[in-house]
């Protein structure tokens, strides 16, 4: 039972935190989108198209942040065998896929008017596409393996191997010639973006982060409850048919 103490605490904390986080997310998203669409100035080169950046860049940051979160959860799964880490891993993968998809789509919509191409195979775009495929593969892996413990271990190993892609994405624009521009905010010598555009971007980034946290906590909660349900139904089935089969997995094996 010791192992389930933490998920129980988590459930109690999540019940309190979810509505607060959801309210904050909604408010901040509202403010951020208002700033991005109506307050922030048009760019001297890109004109109004620059407003895509307020969705694209936070989505891109989140796509990497979620993967880093998932990597730490994978370590928690593999090294400490913590069930909460399993749930955190599983809950993060579809969210990461969602944010990466948003990043790819908004980038493509920006690329056509600015570059003159919807898509090019440069190092940045390709490595982000690989990230998207990794997320999809993880979702598929979780659904392929029925036993939650085994699925968590397989997904954790896959996640750790895929983590090598994260520094490649970040530094692709510095290591190789790419069509994608280098970093504007996190760069040596300070941001290359005017203050009147940076603030709306940071508000949007915070709003996206809170959106992820809210959805992640809700998804972990669902996952914990789903596992309890699974265990209960196995116990019931075992009790019903105890004369046919040995009580195999009561969830105590791990």
């Amino acid at each position: 039972m010791r192992n389930y103490a933490n998920p129980t605490n988590f459930l109690a904390a999540a019940r309190v935190a979810t509505p607060i986080l959801a309210t904050l997310t909604g408010a901040l998203l509202g403010v951020g989108l208002y700033l991005a669409w109506f307050v922030a100035p048009a760019d001297y080169q890109q004109g109004e198209t620059v407003r895509i950046m307020y969705l694209h860049v936070p989505a891109a940051w989140l796509s990497m942040f979620i993967y880093v979160t998932m990597t730490f959860a994978a370590l928690g799964s593999l090294v400490w065998r913590h069930p909460l880490a399993d749930a955190a891993q599983k809950a993060a993968a579809p969210l990461g896929a969602g944010f990466t998809f948003l990043c790819l789509v908004t980038g493509s919509l920006w690329g056509k008017p600015m570059w003159g191409a919807w898509w090019v195979w440069d190092a940045r775009l390709t490595s982000v596409l690989v990230l998207f495929l990794i997320y999809l593969a993880l979702v598929a892996l979780w659904r392929t393996i029925e036993d939650p413990g085994k699925a968590a271990r397989a997904a954790a190993i896959f996640t750790l191997v895929g983590a090598v892609n994260i520094p490649i994405i970040k530094f692709s624009v510095d290591w190789w010639n790419t069509l994608h521009q280098p970093a504007s905010v996190f760069r040596l010598g300070g941001p290359a973006i005017a203050g009147s555009m940076l603030w709306p971007l940071l508000v949007m980034a915070l709003a996206f982060t809170l959106l992820f946290l809210t959805l992640h906590i809700m998804a972990i909660r669902n996952e914990i409850l789903r596992r309890r349900l699974r265990r209960l139904s196995i116990q019931t089935a075992d009790a019903d048919r105890s004369e046919f089969s040995a009580p195999a997995s009561l969830g105590t094996a791990r």
Partner: protein
């Protein structure tokens, strides 16, 4: 070592091996991973024999020559080497002199790069029009794109937009 430490050590060594392998692969493939060559890189390469490739750099100021029927000639530069480019077709909106550009095509024996597609390359600077105008009016352009109004004393000619991107 406890079991946890053993697992952690196993993961750490696995991560080291994977990183090393990927690093070596990327180093070996670095010529294929780059999206374009700068004029200097192209000059250092052995003869390309008309192979398809992409070149990237800045459109040299005052080099754009429109020849009618959508044919344009311009020079791509990285401040060290220049390449003459000829292209027939529609240019992207952001195509401007002094602006980054990537052209795909082949270098012909006459030394002219015949492009069949031209993409504009945007740099990492974002600023409102008024700020850009004010900076140009003062006769200074931002060094390294510092946005908080600290225009360095770099004349527009020697530090065009995005020059540091190449």
């Amino acid at each position: 070592m406890t079991r946890k430490q053993k697992r952690l050590a196993l993961i750490a060594s696995g991560a080291a091996v994977v990183s090393l392998a990927v690093g070596l692969v990327m180093f070996a493939l670095r010529d294929n991973i780059v999206f374009f060559y700068s004029p200097t890189e192209l000059a250092e390469k052995p003869a390309t024999n008309g192979a398809r490739l992409r070149i990237g750099g800045l459109v040299k100021p005052a080099s754009l020559d429109r020849q009618g029927d959508q044919t344009v000639r311009f020079t791509v530069t990285d401040m060290k080497h220049d390449i003459a480019v000829t292209y027939t077709g529609l240019l992207p909106d952001l195509f401007r002199e002094g602006q980054g550009v990537v052209a795909e095509g082949a270098l012909r024996p006459d030394g002219v790069f015949h492009a069949d597609s031209v993409l504009a390359k945007h740099d990492e600077r974002y600023m409102p029009r008024e700020v850009a105008d004010a900076l140009k009016k003062q006769g200074v352009w931002q060094e390294e794109g510092k946005s908080e109004g600290k225009p360095a004393a770099v004349p527009a000619q020697t530090a065009p937009q995005g020059a540091q991107a190449y």
